[in-house]
Every structure is written in structure tokens, then in C-alpha cells.
């Protein structure tokens, strides 16, 4: 008896507060069952032999390769306007590195194809990490891979900006642009090994973590003539940055002129792991929302939420322990996909994005509209993806006003038989940080309150209707597509109240029953699959209907527990899931095929009919239409 008490006490102490592994059941066997994209796998090695070189100061105190092995020597730059630190910090860093912010080196390691070129240039910059555990070698797998496929990849050394520094993200971005200046020189210098090999009109910048935020600033600085925080500092970059990739980025650690960084007219890709133990919220979605297309050119943006991926496995130096070598004490690492799978995902998605945007290989575009077309390439986990291209026109983004019955100008919103209908702000799960985005919550329950549990009311619906003027101005036709972004939640509204029979007098019995409050509409957690019908209505009141699931899997929130201690998880996170909406792009031609009398050029309303699941709640955002490039729609409908 005494022994068993001791064992129980010991078990309680050892297991104190640690939570069991909780994951959402994997549906990838169904969702990723098909490989429809008929193109070479972007994760396969390409035809080029790969060469490597280092460029840098040639005087580095800590790294032999930046001291003894540089093929191209570079001049240091004065980054002091962008980097502030305490005198003690400056002293420590100078002691370790041998230089201060007035003389930051332009160091990089390069993987490039063995060929005449010119090849598109991709710069990748790491984020914050232990400054003495150098981060720049961690993208070798990506460098070798992309170089074999005809890209030049340079991994930039910004380790000297790492460690306990704050407010340096503008410095990271500016350094990136100074690297591009150096690259212009490498390409122009007839004596150098990279002479004429660099396609300076096809540039991508890629960053990880704080570097992922910095690429947004770099894209913005690239078009500015002066530093927003000190106009005495002049900029003159104007590089042809076509594509921006943010890997698990932070957001708004630096705000130029006190504002969120605006990014315009680039292709933008952001990827983030659900089990990120460092940046434990999909903050990159905020920058994704802020990317605008204003010049009429064919840009697109794509966001990927990767279930069970972490922060560091996209960098081989960082690895699985997002909080440092001993972070297994507080991070729950059991649910992570393997480093190989995570990097395979990086090769597929980043590879396809760069192939599509820098090599103009349009066959990869459908991957970003609907990831289910590449079931054979993607590692078997669950993904939620956002997508938008420059043809998109907003009908409702729920930020226009506080009137739930109006959307964009000329758009009317109408709910019928809904249990929940409200517009609200979307928050990130980490401490309820604002996502700076709004949506509408739509909940329904067809069950009628009472003893007969089989009794169902009419399906609830939500209609987005637009005026004739707007309809005409959108130039919608059979080549257009409807956009919806939807996330089912786990809320389950209570049953609907029976319709009152006005011809009957209340008997004393019914009176006593109804005299109190309404039967409680319990918001229970719901885990069943959800589906709904998307109904398009033309000016002749002809409707065309298709199920939403034809365009993607509307999943319940993906259960995410990053920390081992349940109490710490509760104190840090508002929810056990991140609300990430899935974008559904539905070609109008599909609706015509389903209902040949339907005339898409006379589209006057989009209606969501909640008839396929009796109970549920969804968050809806970014309802719109687009004259989308048909290349995105190839290989649709797995």
C-alpha cells in the first residue's frame, strides 16, 4: 500500500502538468490522394551541376570561410542608422565580431548553376538565433536544390544582428538590399566568377523568422527614396524584385513611420508551421493581407499553414528545438513532422513558387489555387492555404463598415434562419493578437427544439447580392471565378425555436413552458465534417448549385498544442487552434456545366446554403470574383 502510494506520488510529480499528445486526425490520405499537376516535381533535383563560392569581407574573426575562402571581396557598410544597441551590447559585440554597426560585412555563401546564365537570383536571410551558432549554412539544402534547377541562391550572413537585439528588423532589410547592390557589382565585374551569370531582372528575396519580416521591409524600402524613420538617409535601390518568400515570419517588430509595412506588386508566398515553438502564431498572414496588387500586372500571393511543422526545421542549423537545445523541456516535439518532410515541403512549394514566378513555368500555378492538385508531391500532413491574384475584386471583406447588411459599395448581405450572424475581428491564437482582419461568423442549426429530434427546419442561408451597376462593372463571364475564404469553427449552435402558431392560444401548460427564457442555445464543440452549397443566381433568377467540398476540404480547426505544460499553453494561447481560412476558387464555368441555363455574365448574387450539414458555424471572409488567369485553373477538381 505504501509502495503504491509512493509510485502514484512519484508519477504525479514526474508527469505534473504535462499533457498527452493531442493532434487532429490526419485526412491527408483523402485530401492528397491525387497528383493532378502534370509537371516535373519541383522538389526533384534539376539538370545543372552546382558550384559554390563565398563572398565577404575576407577579414572575419569568427568564420574561417569568410576570412580565407572568399572568392569575391566586398566592402563593409555603415548600418548604424538602422541598428541601435546599448553601449554594453555594442562593446560585447565588437569584442566578439571585431566590428560594429558602422562596418557590417557583406558576407554570403552562394550556390549557383554551372552554366552560362543568366539565372534568376534568390537571396535568403535567416532570422534571429544564437549569434554564435551561425544560421546562414542552414539553407544549404535549398541552395543546392535551387541551383540545380537554374537559380542562383545566396544565403546571407546577418548573424551579427542576432542575439538579444531589438528593433533591428529594418537593419536586416537594408542589409539585404545592400547585398543586392553587391550582386549588381558581381554581375557587372568582368573579372569575377559571376560575371554575366545573374539575371538582375528576376530577383526573389526570401527570409525566415525575423528575416521573413525583413523581406517585407526590403520590398517596401526597395521603392522608397528615403528611410521612413530618418529622411536624411537616402535610398536608391529599385531592384526588380519579382517574388518575396516569408518562412515563419514575425510581423511588425519594425513599423516604418509607425505603420504596418505595405508591400505592393510582388508575388508573395508565406509558409508557417502550426507547431512553431518560436513564432507560435501565423503572424505572416497579416503581411499577406497587406500585399496589394495595384499596377495591373499578373501577381499572386499564397499562404500555407502546415500542420505539425515547426519553426526551425526549414533551417538545418536550427532544427527541431525551436527554443534552443534544451527546449524539449517545454516544447512538445512529439507531434512534429520529420525534418526531411518539412524540408521536402519547402522544396516543393518554394521551388514551385520560384519556378512559376522567376522561370515563368505556369504549369505550377494551380498548386497555389488548390493544393490538392499536388497530392503526390506534398508530404502527407494537412494544409490550409490562402490565395489571391491580381484579378481579384472584393465583394465583401467585412472591414468596410459596421453594418452587417452591407459589403463593398453596391453589395448587400442578407442572412436567413441563421443562429449566428455577426461580424468581428479575427485574432491570432497567441495572446489574442489582432490579425488586423475581419470576418463574418455564420452559425446554423436545422434541428427544431422539442421532443422530435428528427424534425428539421429549412436550411439557413447567407446571400451576397450586388447591384446591376456593380455586376456590369465587374465584367464577370464564364471565365471568371468566385472566391470565398472559409474556416469552420467548433461552435455548435443550439436547436432552432419552432415557428409560433399564431392561430393557437397558449394553453396554461405551454405558457408555463414558454414563460421562462428561451431553451438554452448551447454552443457545444462540434467535430463532424462540414459542407454547404454554393448557389449562384443570375438576373433571370436561374440558380446554379455546387457543393463547397468540390473545391477543398472545409476542416474544423486543427488542434495545436505547442507546449508540454497544459497550464502554460492555456496562459499563452487564447485557443487550441489557429483560425486560418481556406480559400476556395470556384470557376463559373463549373456552375454553367451544372446548370446550363445559368448565365454567368448576369450574376447578381452568391448564396451560401447550409443544407449539407445540419449544424455548424463558419467564419467567412474575402468574398469576391476574379477574371483569373486560366493557368491557375488547370487540373482543377481532383
Amino acid at each position: 500500500m505504501k509502495n503504491s502510494s509512493t509510485i502514484i506520488a512519484a508519477a504525479l510529480i514526474v508527469g505534473a502538468c504535462a499533457q498527452p499528445l493531442k493532434l487532429t486526425p490526419d485526412d491527408s490520405k483523402i485530401v492528397l490522394a491525387h497528383q493532378l499537376l502534370d509537371a516535373p516535381n519541383p522538389a526533384d533535383r534539376g539538370p545543372y551541376a552546382v558550384k559554390t563560392l563565398y563572398y565577404g569581407s575576407g577579414t572575419d574573426r569568427q568564420r574561417r570561410y569568410y576570412r580565407d575562402s572568399v572568392a569575391i571581396k566586398t566592402k563593409s557598410v555603415d548600418a548604424s542608422p538602422f541598428v541601435s544597441m546599448s553601449p554594453e551590447q555594442a562593446e560585447d559585440r565588437k569584442k566578439y565580431w571585431g566590428f560594429d554597426a558602422k562596418a557590417f560585412p557583406i558576407n554570403g555563401r552562394v550556390w549557383y548553376p554551372d552554366g552560362p546564365g543568366p539565372f534568376p537570383l534568390v537571396l535568403v536571410v535567416h532570422g534571429n538565433h544564437d549569434m554564435k551558432d551561425f544560421s546562414d549554412p542552414g539553407y544549404q539544402y535549398l541552395g543546392e536544390h535551387l541551383a540545380s534547377r537554374g537559380f542562383i541562391l545566396a544565403s546571407l550572413d546577418e548573424n551579427f544582428l542576432n542575439g538579444a537585439m531589438r528593433n533591428e528588423n529594418d537593419g536586416r532589410a537594408w542589409m539585404m538590399l545592400k547585398h543586392l547592390e553587391a550582386w549588381r557589382g558581381f554581375n557587372d565585374s568582368s573579372a569575377g566568377p559571376l560575371h554575366g551569370k545573374v539575371d538582375m531582372h528576376n530577383i526573389a528575396i526570401m527570409g525566415h523568422s525575423r528575416g521573413g519580416e525583413a523581406v517585407g521591409h526590403a520590398a517596401a524600402f526597395n521603392r522608397l527614396s528615403r528611410y521612413p524613420d530618418d529622411a536624411k538617409v537616402k535610398f536608391n535601390f529599385n531592384f526588380d524584385i519579382k517574388s518575396v518568400v516569408a518562412i515563419a515570419p514575425v510581423d511588425a517588430q519594425y513599423k516604418p513611420a509607425g505603420q504596418f509595412t505595405p508591400v505592393e506588386n510582388v508575388n508573395y508566398l508565406v509558409i508557417h508551421g502550426s507547431h512553431d515553438g518560436d513564432v507560435s502564431a501565423f503572424t505572416g498572414l497579416r503581411q499577406w493581407q497587406r500585399v496589394k496588387f495595384t499596377d495591373g500586372k499578373p501577381w499572386f500571393k499564397s499562404a500555407w499553414y502546415v500542420y505539425r511543422a515547426n519553426h526551425g526545421q526549414w533551417n538545418t542549423v536550427w532544427g527541431s528545438h525551436d527554443g534552443g537545445p534544451r527546449s524539449a523541456r517545454f516544447l512538445d516535439l512529439r507531434g512534429l513532422i520529420s525534418p526531411e518532410e518539412q524540408r521536402q515541403f519547402g522544396k516543393v512549394v518554394i521551388g514551385a513558387f520560384l519556378e512559376a514566378t522567376l522561370h515563368n513555368k505556369r504549369e505550377y500555378l494551380p498548386l497555389f489555387r488548390d493544393h490538392r492538385v499536388a497530392g503526390g508531391w506534398l508530404p502527407k500532413t494537412m494544409y490550409i492555404t490562402r490565395f489571391q491574384e491580381s484579378g481579384y475584386k472584393t465583394l465583401a471583406d467585412y472591414e468596410e463598415d459596421v453594418d452587417v447588411t452591407t459589403g463593398s459599395s453596391g453589395v448587400t448581405l442578407l442572412g436567413d434562419s441563421l443562429a449566428t450572424w455577426k461580424e468581428d475581428a479575427l485574432n491570432l491564437r497567441w495572446q489574442n493578437t489582432p490579425m488586423n482582419d475581419n470576418g463574418v461568423w455564420l452559425g446554423w442549426n436545422r434541428h427544431i427544439a422539442g421532443d422530435d429530434t428528427t424534425k428539421l427546419g429549412k436550411p439557413a442561408s447567407y446571400t451576397i447580392a450586388f447591384s446591376d451597376t456593380l455586376s456590369r462593372s465587374m465584367h464577370v463571364d464564364s471565365r471568371s471565378s468566385v472566391y470565398l475564404s472559409i474556416a469552420p469553427t467548433d461552435a455548435r449552435p443550439g436547436p432552432r425555436q419552432p415557428a409560433k402558431d399564431s392561430t393557437k392560444k397558449d394553453s396554461p401548460k405551454t405558457k408555463s413552458r414558454s414563460s421562462g427564457k428561451k431553451p438554452e442555445a448551447k454552443d457545444e464543440k462540434d467535430t463532424t465534417t462540414i459542407d454547404l452549397t454554393v448557389e449562384l443566381i443570375d438576373a433571370n433568377n436561374v440558380t446554379a448549385r455546387l457543393p463547397l467540398t468540390r473545391y477543398g476540404m472545409p476542416r474544423r480547426p486543427l488542434e495545436t498544442h505547442v507546449l508540454r505544460r497544459a497550464d502554460r499553453e492555456r496562459s499563452q494561447f487564447a485557443n487550441t487552434y489557429e483560425i486560418v481560412l481556406q480559400t476556395y476558387v470556384m470557376p463559373l464555368s463549373d456552375f454553367v456545366a451544372a446548370s446550363p441555363q445559368f448565365q454567368p455574365d448576369k450574376l447578381k448574387a452568391i448564396r451560401l446554403v447550409f443544407d449539407r450539414s445540419p449544424v455548424g458555424t463558419i467564419i467567412l471572409d474575402d468574398v469576391g470574383v476574379s477574371a483569373i488567369d486560366p493557368a491557375f485553373l488547370a487540373q482543377a477538381r481532383p
Binding site: I13, V14, A16, C17, A18, E88, Y96, K132, P325, R326, R329, F330, L563, R564, R565, R568
Partner: protein, 302 residues
């Protein structure tokens, strides 16, 4: 509210323990020096510690110390002592209070039959350009039978963190204690002017956490001689810990010391600790003359 209740109950428990640890050997005529359970287990090396009870060893580390603790030591069936300490961080500084009590009765070498001592300390520290400067005011009182002695004193200290070989943290702390007491004063209430230098370091070693601490001190006596009626006091200790979950760990400690004169303290000390989130429970044992072991138990809330 819960913290306050815990603090009060800890203090009450301490007083009960102390009141029961009376009557027996009066070991020495010195004010009890060991005031930290963890520190005692590591050769009574606590000057560079970051625990709240560092207030008894020097005030500079109050700038970084955390927690509230209570501890009781049973030196013998008739002699005990106990401490209570609490600190609070304020911006880049910190403040702390500490109370130490000792109760005992006659022993063969003592002239008196009953002994009661109390030491109260209030201190504050501030960080300035990486250095931590601290100062503390102390009140010590003793009643030996009907004779009463008391005095006010001051402690001052400075400490700083360094980095050994660019990766191993090292804390050095210097403390000057009992300023305001003269050598003649120490006949009754032994509080000699004392200068101590403490060092503490630690870091990961495989899956374990290893900590090292040492103190070296000299005390003033009539001749300022280290060998006559006073000596070099030193201690060294090692701690090996293992954490299986963030905030939960256990550790074992051992120490070696060169104790001051006129005490029954001998060289070897040892102990163990268990951390359960915000609660720590520590045990220390110290080797005494006559093959006796004094036991000390402390609890700490962070």
C-alpha cells in the same frame, strides 16, 4: 492572496520549529552564519547566489534575486535556527528583507543557560553599467540569560556577471558585512567585520544542469591576523540537477568548507532540492563536531 497565505503559514511553521528546537548545546558564541538551505549544502557558499536568502550574505545580488523563502535548521535537540527572506524586483534593481532567529540553551562551553538571537536585514540593490550595487541595514540582538546585547550594522556589496570563454556565465559578488561593529564588540554578540568574495557559475552538461559556487571570506579580529582568533573562511560546492519538464527539476548538492573558529561546524555539507513549478523544497545537512549532523529544510516560492 494565495501567496500571502503561503508566506504567512511558512513563517508560522518556521517559528514553531524554532520554538521546539530549544534547550541543549550552545554550539558557539557566533551569530549563526548559514542562512540558506541551498547555499549551506554547497559549502555555505551563497554570496553570488540569486536566491532571496542572499540578503544574509551580501546585498548586491538583491538586484537579481527572486523569491520568498522560509527555512529551519535543527542543529541539535536543543538548538535551532531559522530564516525568512523575501525579495522583489523593481525595474533594474531589487529590495529584500530577511529575518534570522536562533534559540538554544546551555552547553558545556558556554557561560549562560539560555540564548536567543535575532538578526533583521533590510536591503536594496541597483544595477548600474552592468555592476550591481547593494546596501543593507541590519539589526542584531542577543539575550544570553539576563544579559542583552544589540547593535545596528551595515552591509555593502557589489557584483557583476561575466562570461567565461564566451559561453559560461560567471557571477562574482563582493560583500563587506557588519560595518559598524568593532572587534571589542564581538565578545558578546559575535558579528565581526567580514569581507567575502563569492563566485557562481553553471550551465548544461549533457542532459544535466551543473552549478558551482564558492565563497572566500576574511573576518577582522583583534590583531587582523588570519591565524589568531580568526581565519580565512572558505567554501565550495557543486550542484547537479535534472529537469524533466519545464519548471520541474531535482538536484543533488555537496560542499566542502573551511569554517570559522569558535563553532562546531566541520567541513562537509550536502543536500538536495526539488522544484515543482513555483515551489522549491530544499534540504541541507552539515557535518558538526562529534560526528553529528545538523539538518536544514527550506521552502521557497517564486
Amino acid at each position: 492572496m494565495r501567496t500571502t497565505v503561503l508566506r504567512l503559514s511558512g513563517t508560522a511553521a518556521l517559528l514553531v520549529l524554532i520554538s521546539h528546537a530549544s534547550l541543549s548545546q550552545c554550539i558557539n558564541q557566533r551569530l549563526v552564519t548559514s542562512a540558506s538551505t541551498r547555499g549551506l549544502a554547497m559549502g555555505n557558499s551563497n554570496t553570488a547566489s540569486r536566491d532571496d536568502d542572499v540578503i544574509f550574505y551580501g546585498p548586491a545580488q538583491l538586484a537579481v534575486a527572486r523569491g520568498t523563502s522560509a527555512a529551519a535548521e535543527r542543529v541539535s535537540p536543543r538548538l535551532g535556527n531559522g530564516t525568512f527572506a523575501s525579495t522583489a524586483r523593481i525595474a533594474t534593481g531589487g529590495v529584500g528583507i530577511g529575518v534570522q532567529l536562533a534559540e538554544g540553551s546551555n552547553e558545556n562551553r558556554c557561560e549562560f543557560r539560555q540564548l536567543s538571537r535575532v538578526l533583521a536585514v533590510v536591503g536594496a540593490a541597483q544595477t548600474y553599467k552592468r555592476f550591481r550595487f547593494g546596501i543593507a541595514g541590519k539589526y542584531a540582538a542577543e539575550q544570553a540569560d539576563s544579559a542583552q546585547t544589540s547593535r545596528f550594522m551595515v552591509d555593502a556589496g557589489v557584483s557583476r556577471d561575466f562570461s567565461l570563454a564566451d559561453f559560461l556565465p560567471l557571477t562574482l559578488a563582493l560583500a563587506v558585512q557588519n560595518i559598524g561593529t568593532s572587534a571589542a564588540d564581538t565578545v558578546a554578540l559575535v558579528t565581526p567585520l567580514r569581507v567575502a568574495l563569492g563566485a557562481a557559475t553553471g550551465g548544461p552538461l549533457g542532459p544535466l544542469d551543473v552549478g558551482l559556487a564558492s565563497d572566500v571570506a576574511v573576518e577582522r579580529n583583534d590583531t587582523l591576523s588570519l591565524v589568531k582568533h580568526g581565519r580565512l573562511i572558505a567554501g565550495f560546492g557543486v550542484e547537479v540537477g535534472y529537469s524533466w519538464l519545464d519548471g520541474y527539476s531535482f538536484s543533488f548538492r555537496a560542499g566542502e568548507r573551511v569554517p570559522p573558529t569558535r563553532t562546531d561546524e566541520r567541513h562537509f555539507t550536502f543536500g538536495a532540492g526539488l522544484v515543482l513549478d513555483r515551489l522549491s523544497i530544499d534540504y541541507a545537512g552539515e557535518d558538526l563536531v562529534g560526528f553529528r549532523i545538523a539538518h536544514r529544510i527550506g521552502v521557497r516560492l517564486r
